[in-house]
């Protein structure tokens, strides 16, 4: 079970983030009058933090299913981009392939795209345990918040910053790993530009599309610098 222990170590920061955000979701759900079963079901079947949090007021006001569908599409559109780097890796994983696709959240993506597997460990098992552990933390948090939210009276404001901190750790490590800095610079320029242009509600998807286009345009210099030779 060396792989399980390795996955456990990699996912410790997610444990705290997911527990906190999951509890927040569960508390909101029970305040809105939805039983713990619904919180748990959302954690098991949706497994998307920001969408679940946005859905609570929508469900409480009885928003139409079309509204729910469009909100899901809008908030999670970024997930379209996550699979691109993992097609070959996940395809090898047999029975675990569908689960790896389903469980590719921001946090799982950030770990899987930066993790360095130690010698002698089965990479696919590590990746599967990382995804599975993350979701189990999420289910635990959502259910706990729904059942015991009223007893949890700590002032945890700001704890959600641990997710940002994780993303920053990944970017810092990638900055060291990549010889070319163009992907970082292009993405930052697109994000800031579209943020100023479109505002915080609408800049994400245009930013991702523009970054994708820019990376395609800059393919020559980036591949040259990284020494990528695909055979």
């Amino acid at each position: 079970m060396k792989e399980f222990r390795f996955a456990l170590k990699q996912t410790v920061p997610i444990f705290f983030t997911y527990l906190f955000l999951g509890v927040a979701f569960g508390v909101l759900m029970s305040d809105a009058g939805f039983g713990a079963g619904f919180s748990a079901a959302a954690a098991v079947f949706i497994f998307a933090g920001s969408l679940q949090l946005v859905m609570v007021p929508l469900m409480a006001s009885g928003a139409s299913l079309l509204t729910i569908a469009l909100t899901s599409l809008f908030i999670n559109a970024r997930h379209i981009f996550y699979g691109i780097g993992f097609i070959e890796k996940f395809r090898r994983m047999g029975a675990r392939y569908p689960y790896m696709i389903f469980s590719l959240t921001d946090e799982t993506y950030s770990i899987l795209s930066s993790v360095r597997y130690p010698e002698g460990l089965d990479e696919d098992r590590c990746a599967f345990f990382i995804a599975m552990l993350n979701q189990s933390y999420w289910i635990l948090g959502c259910t706990l918040g729904a059942c015991a939210g009223s007893y949890l009276q700590f002032d945890m404001r700001g704890f959600e910053f641990s997710a940002v901190a994780l993303f920053l750790v990944v970017v810092t490590d990638q900055w060291r790993q990549y010889k070319t800095k163009l992907p970082f610079l292009v993405a930052a320029a697109c994000a800031v530009g579209f943020f100023l242009l479109l505002g915080k509600e609408y800049f994400l998807v245009p930013t991702l599309l523009a970054s994708l286009a820019a990376l395609l345009v800059l393919r020559g210099p980036i591949e040259k610098k990284e020494g990528l030779a695909y055979e």
Binding site: G83, V171, F184
Partner: protein, 107 residues
């Protein structure tokens, strides 16, 4: 139990849309040998996506008025510096998060 139908349907709709988005690239390219462009993107996209995610997480910070996003920027800088120097993920995340939690309370 008829009032359970709506939340079940809502959760099902959100789950299906989310799964569809996550599965999209796999449905499109999953069965064929991967085009070279996609293998290039698989390598070049992650740093771009993570950079965008960081900025996306900071979208609610108040840059224009007090506290001028100081908690986000100071805690974020601490994370980056610690990670660059010490290369210890846990230390970087814990220190940054604690600094952020302190700053939003005192500012």
């Amino acid at each position: 139990m008829s009032n359970a139908v709506y939340p079940i349907a809502a959760i099902a709709v959100a789950a299906l849309v989310t799964l569809g988005l996550r599965a999209f690239p796999f449905l499109l390219f999953g069965r064929r040998p991967l085009p070279k462009t996609l293998r290039y993107l698989g390598r070049a996209l992650p740093p771009a996506i993570m950079t965008v995610l960081v900025i996306y997480c900071l979208r609610d910070a108040s840059f224009g008025q007090f506290p001028f996003a100081v908690p986000e920027l100071a805690a974020g800088a601490l994370v980056v510096i610690l990670q660059a120097v010490k290369k210890n993920m846990y230390l970087s995340i814990v220190a940054g998060t604690v600094l952020y939690m302190v700053l939003i309370r005192v500012m």
